[in-house]
């Protein structure tokens, strides 16, 4: 039984993950949006399922991927999107706009709470005011904005997004869209025939309905957030249209695109409160698009599944579990707990890898394309290295570090992902799979190694100072681990930096331009070189090496995020004011740990008893402890 226990835990974890693959149970009489949510549309330059559009929009407006109504019920993202697209009057009442800034709440005369979710209806009276202030904020550079202006700027962007979503299929006040487009198409056809038959101009009766419709569809064409009208089979991405544009090109009822009439029927069913008909129409359209564009529809369907399964959330939880088990293994039941931790880590890494490779498949890109994916990759690389260490040394240390770094990086990724689509398109200069796959991946692997080494050092210091668990042997093992991992980090950081220089030489005409991001990478390389040379020269010993490795954490975080916050240079992919306090806190924590590592040996609980037995190495007159 005791030997089976780790495997039972693994089985339970597998079941827990498998359960998430099941779509949530439907309440009776509610609308089934499963087919609807995987319909492909073109938004932000790429084909994605409506589910992704819905989740990202809610993330931007509300900070979460689901909607909680005032009566406590929660609404799936796609179900919310269906209301926004087809019955805006109801969607306007949903509390989707998160406002956390006191001054903004005050502007609306709302009670000053910590955070409040407002509905579009509540905000409607203040739209002009929000727009004015938002414009003023937009004219100020991001780093110079006040918190109030940042908040109002974000709110304005959310409102614009919401209004664009509302105008993505049909105008807001539409009653029966199927009927409307049918009579519109007939009117166009009639006018066409009249002209063909030799009429010089149209009569007012013929012209009036066309003019009204044209104005309606013109504004649809301009403001649509996404292009929902799929071209016939074989049409490329550039041939996708908004409903507005598609309708303006209609010549007769027969030429109404399938997508337009399908969405019209879905909307009519939703407004009529007919779940069966809604599901049937969505299914039928999903079938049609699956036949016309099997590749796109398949990919969109996969993305919807991917959204549902939330692999990074699951691996995050598993990493914490593995970390706690590995720590516990130093106190009780070392073998069993270590084994369990190891198995959980392997499972977590598998789920993590599934998520990462799915993203690569969806985007058709190497793993790292933006800050969000770099966090995913840093965690992945560190966990992989940690698992190798655990396999080599079997002492729970590799597992604990892997769990901790995996967890922290995924939390970071989670917060970086709250800005919208994390599978965004690459701007021209970054559009090179070769360099993304080499330079970016290698340099990010360097970050992984630095953080893993730093984490090992943190464990050394914490165990050494606060517990008696660090024996002389385990201290030496840790030292070798840190040294080895730093060698790895040196290799990756140096090669990655030079490759970056070569990419810069290919695209900007200079190998090195002292850009902050380049300097950040150079700092890591220099720091690694300093650590290695100091160690070789004997300038630092065990504790010094650990302190330097912890300092490496701070330097790597500066290089990863800090330089992007400076707001200068070619690598500023957006100012991240929210992350700044966290970065400072992290760096201060590393500083505290370094100070801790400088405590004289007699205060280290692990070494106190042993202090008498230190190896004294003769360096000059002053005897030194090899620790």
């Amino acid at each position: 039984m005791k030997r089976l226990a780790p495997y039972l835990v693994l089985l339970a974890a597998c079941l827990w993950i498998a359960a998430s693959w099941h779509a949530p149970k439907l309440k009776p009489d509610s609308f089934d949006v499963r087919s609807f949510s995987r319909l492909p549309v073109l938004a932000g330059g790429r084909i994605k399922p409506l589910d992704t559009v819905a989740r990202n929009s809610l993330l931007i407006m509300r900070g979460k991927q689901t909607l909680r109504l005032s009566n406590g019920e929660s609404l799936e993202a796609s179900r919310w999107l269906a209301d926004v697209l087809f019955q805006a009057s109801i969607a306007d009442g949903y509390p989707v706009f998160a406002i956390a800034n006191q001054d903004v709440l005050g502007m609306f005369g709302l009670p000053q709470a910590n955070k409040r979710y407002c509905s579009y209806t509540e905000l409607q009276p203040y739209l002009t005011k929000i727009d004015e202030e938002g414009q003023r904020a937009a004219d100020t550079e991001a780093p110079k904005r006040t918190p109030f202006h940042t908040a109002i700027y974000n709110l304005r962007n959310s409102l614009v997004l919401y209004q664009q979503l509302k105008g993505s299929i049909h105008p807001e006040n539409t009653k029966d869209f199927s009927k409307e487009i049918q009579s519109y198409a007939e009117a166009v056809a009639a006018a066409g025939t009249a002209l063909k038959q030799g009429a010089a101009t149209l009569t007012d009766d013929q012209r009036a309905p066309l003019a009204i419709a044209a104005a309606r569809y013109e504004s649809l064409a301009q403001f649509a957030h996404m292009l929902v009208v799929a071209p016939p089979a074989g049409g490329g991405v550039a041939a996708w249209l908004s409903t507005g544009t598609a309708l303006l090109r209609v010549e007769s009822p027969a030429s109404i695109p399938v997508s337009v009439s399908a969405y019209a029927r879905m909307g009519d069913a939703l407004r009529a409160g007919n779940p069966a008909s809604f599901a049937r129409e969505a299914d039928a359209y999903a079938d049609w698009i699956g036949k016309q564009h099997p590749e796109l529809a398949g990919r969109a369907g996969f993305e919807q599944r991917f959204n549902l399964s939330q692999p990074f959330y699951h691996s995050m939880v598993l990493y914490v579990g593995a970390f706690l088990l590995a720590c516990a293994s130093w106190l009780v039941c070392p073998k069993g707990l270590r084994k369990t931790a190891f198995l959980l880590l392997v499972l977590a890494l598998a789920v993590h890898s599934f998520g990462m490779f799915s993203r690569m498949y969806l985007q058709g890109r190497p793993p790292v394309t933006n800050l969000y994916s770099s966090a995913i990759f840093v965690g992945w690389g560190a966990v992989l290295l940690g698992l190798v260490l655990e396999r080599l040394f079997r002492d729970g240390i590799g597992a604990a570090c892997a769990g901790m770094v995996g967890f922290i990086t995924l939390v970071i990724a989670h917060h970086l992902g709250s800005n919208g689509d994390t599978l965004e398109m690459m701007t021209a200069v970054l559009d090179s799979n070769l360099w993304l796959a080499t330079h970016v991946v290698v340099i990010t692997a360097g970050y992984s190694a630095m953080f893993l080494a730093g984490m090992l050092a943190v464990i050394y210091v914490c165990l050494g100072v606060f517990t008696r668990l660090l024996t002389r042997e385990s201290a030496q093992t840790l030292t070798r681990m840190v040294y080895g991992i730093i060698c790895f980090a040196t290799l990756f950081s140096f090669v990655g930096t030079v490759l970056g220089g070569i990419w810069a030489d290919q695209s900007w005409g200079r190998f090195w331009g002292w850009d902050p991001k380049e300097n950040g990478a150079l700092l890591i390389v220099l720091w690694c070189a300093i650590i290695l040379h100091s160690r070789w020269r004997g300038l630092v010993r065990q504790r010094g090496l650990m302190a330097m490795a912890i300092c490496g954490n701070a330097i790597t975080s500066f290089s990863w995020f800090g330089v992007n916050m400076l707001g200068v240079g070619l690598h500023t992919y957006g100012f991240m004011d929210k992350a700044f306090p966290w970065l400072v806190a992290f760096v201060l924590a590393q500083g505290a740990l370094i100070l801790l590592s400088r405590l004289p040996v007699r205060y280290w609980r692990s070494f106190r008893l042993e202090a008498g037995h230190c190896d004294f190495v003769a360096t000059g007159d002053k005897p030194r402890c090899s620790l």
Partner: protein
């Protein structure tokens, strides 16, 4: 008495290496933070491409070095590296990796120095349908005095902007007049003087400068800004010294200022220094693609016709992101475009040592792989910690 060997040993010491690396670390960190305040280009000039970082009090005229600059640290590190390579040289497989790494870094550092000293970067702006046979270097301005008396051939006399900055009187041999610098502005703004001029003072007594006033401005520090150099010049004919008046010349003035003397005509222009090429590039088409339904740029590309009569080379070239065009020592990069997509901006780089990083990268990578395979094998076998090289 130190023997040469001992001297070499102390130059090659690891302690010196660590000191250099630490100094470089501090310099890069401080320089990066200073970029927020001073901008990329100043920091590059003052921190990284100098022997010392100088500090001077805001009011005083003296300056004192406060920290070694990039060139000094780099030079010491380079000497230290070469010395240690000679000092510790042994033929052994164990050392091969480390030696390769250090040789690669020497190549990289030396290449970096060569680039700093010899590389020249300029821009070529071409409108669609037009052609050019020169590139312009906006970091080096020049006063071009072009004699246009003879319509067939232009006689150009170029005076570097730095000479204007020194002020005083310029007497180029090829010109029958003296140029006296009456005003010089590293960075400036020009404004037209309207009807209700108020207190605005015309910058010059001749040419367009009579309707324009000029104000000095602090030097540009942001990435997307650059200095607008302007100067006010007095022209005095040789011999009998009756001044012809003063002219305003500026980087932002589109038209050249005309000057007439004894039936001869000259154009005065303050413009980026020009590098003439023995061939022409004609822009046939510039395209700027975005992802469908968005404003995210997908690609910029310039279709260019190369016309080289000297080498009898005539062909079409496409220059786009990450795909530069290398020709006769110059490399052309897609850098930007005119605001209305009517033309392209190509960056032209002449860097004789551009291959150094490529060579270095290969050498160091080989060395590192070799070395770390050694270390890793020992590491995995739970051998003792690697010993010092």
């Amino acid at each position: 008495m130190t023997t040469p060997k001992q001297l070499l040993g102390s130059i090659a010491s690891l302690r010196l290496t660590v000191i250099c690396l630490a100094a470089a670390f501090v310099l890069v960190f401080a320089g990066t933070l200073a970029q927020v305040r001073l901008g990329l280009f100043f920091v590059q000039e003052q921190y990284f491409q100098s022997a010392f970082i100088w500090w001077s009090p805001t009011s005083g005229s003296f300056k004192i070095p406060v920290f070694p600059g990039g060139h000094l640290i780099g030079a010491v590190l380079l000497v230290n590296l070469i010395a240690s390579l000679i000092h510790r040289f042994t033929v052994s497989w164990r050392k091969l990796g480390i030696q390769l790494i250090h040789i690669g870094i020497i190549v990289l550092l030396a290449g970096g120095f060569a680039t700093d000293l010899f590389s020249v970067s300029s821009y070529m702006r071409i409108k669609e349908g037009a052609s050019k046979n020169y590139s312009e270097d906006s970091s080096r301005m020049e006063l071009a005095v072009t004699e246009i008396t003879d319509k067939e051939s232009d006689q150009i006399t170029a005076v570097p902007g730095d000479l204007l900055a020194e002020g005083g009187t310029l007497t180029p041999k090829s010109l029958p007049f003296q140029i006296v610098v009456r005003g010089f502005y590293r960075n400036s703004t020009l404004s037209m003087i309207g009807q209700d001029a108020g207190s605005a003072v015309p910058a010059a007594t001749q040419g367009a400068g009579t309707r324009i006033s000029v104000q000095s401005k602090p030097r540009a520090t942001k990435m997307d800004e650059r200095d607008v150099m302007s100067a006010v010049l007095e022209i005095i004919p040789e011999g009998k010294g009756d001044s012809l008046g003063t002219w305003l010349v500026s980087d932002v003035m589109a038209e050249a200022q005309e000057l007439h003397l004894n039936g001869r005509h000259w154009n005065l222009e303050l413009r980026p220094a020009r590098y003439y090429k023995p061939y022409r590039l004609m822009l046939e088409d510039f395209s700027h693609e975005t992802y469908p339904g968005t404003q995210i740029p997908k690609d910029f590309s310039s279709k260019v016709i190369l016309d080289d009569d000297v080498n009898n080379d005539h062909r079409q070239v496409v220059i786009y992101m990450n795909h530069p065009f290398r020709y006769l020592g110059d490399t052309y990069y897609q850098s930007g475009f005119e605001p209305d997509n009517s033309g392209t901006v190509l960056q032209v780089v002449r860097n004789p040592s551009y291959q150094a990083p490529y060579v270095a990268c290969v050498i160091v990578s080989l060395g590192m792989m070799f070395q770390f395979t050694f270390t890793l094998v020992g590491f995995a076998r739970r051998a003792k910690p690697a010993t010092a090289p």
